[in-house]
């Protein structure tokens, strides 16, 4: 399980944090990122591995390249929660609409 500590550690290194900020702005490939920070490409890959382990970034294949982007695990959970919330809301709403005690018409 990813902890708050892992996430902070992952961003402790200034270069790693710079890479994270670049990925946050838009999804990018390793090569693109390497061109924007003053470390070698293998070093960039290492940083990305740490960010991925902390669930801060995720990667996907695009042709022969690997594109790094923000980890969407958080939004998936929120979406799942809201999905159940709206199911519940509409069911309760439906009961209220047809509730004879509540009916003013």
């Amino acid at each position: 399980m990813v902890t708050y500590g892992d996430a902070l550690d992952a961003l402790g290194d200034p270069t790693r944090r710079a890479i994270f900020e670049l990925v946050a702005r838009r999804p990018q490939a390793v090569g693109e990122l390497a061109g924007q920070v003053p470390v070698s490409r293998p070093a960039v890959s290492q940083h990305l591995r740490s960010l991925k382990a902390a669930c801060l970034v995720q990667d996907r294949a695009e042709g022969t390249r690997r594109i790094y982007e923000l980890d969407t695990a958080g939004i998936t959970l929120v979406r799942h929660y809201l999905d159940r919330l709206w199911d519940d809301a509409l069911n309760r709403f439906a009961s209220a609409v047809t509730d004879p005690v509540d009916n003013k018409e």
Binding site: M1, V2, T3, Y4, A7, L8, L11, A24, L70, D71, T72, A73, G74, I75, T76, L77, V78, R79, H80, Y81, L82, D83, R84, L85, W86, D87, D88, A89, L90, N91, R92, F93, A94, S95, A96, V97, T98, D102, E105
Partner: protein, 156 residues
Amino acid sequence: MSTSAPIRKQITVAATPERSFEVFTAGMGRWWNRQYSIGSEEMTTVVVEGHEGGRWFERGVHGAECEWGRVLVWEPPQRVVLDWQITGEWRYDPEVHTELDVQFVADAGGTRVELEHRGLESLGAQADGIREIFDGPGGWAGLLQGLLAVAAGGDA
């Protein structure tokens, strides 16, 4: 499934669009599940102010009001669009904007209520977690704890 795809729900109720619209908006406090309230006080009602730009908020037993968002579109009885501004950390954020689009369509059974909640990428860790990480500690802890609790909690 794209994680930012809209949530779409619908239900048909045996009532007119006018009645359905009214119960959904003016009557929201009567049916909203108290478990999904954001204030620290026990929630007594939800208010949707009946005009474009109107506030959308909950009121607690001691009168405290917690914002949920704004009315973006007010077209009774066919349509209401609300700006849901409650984050994945379950708190109001004026910089978060998502659209809850609810339409009330007359059909043979009464009214078909079609709900779409879109713009959910605004709720993600991207919006919240980044700001909190860069502004100070606490954000990630809250987000991860909150979301992991939801995931582990099974049926709410």
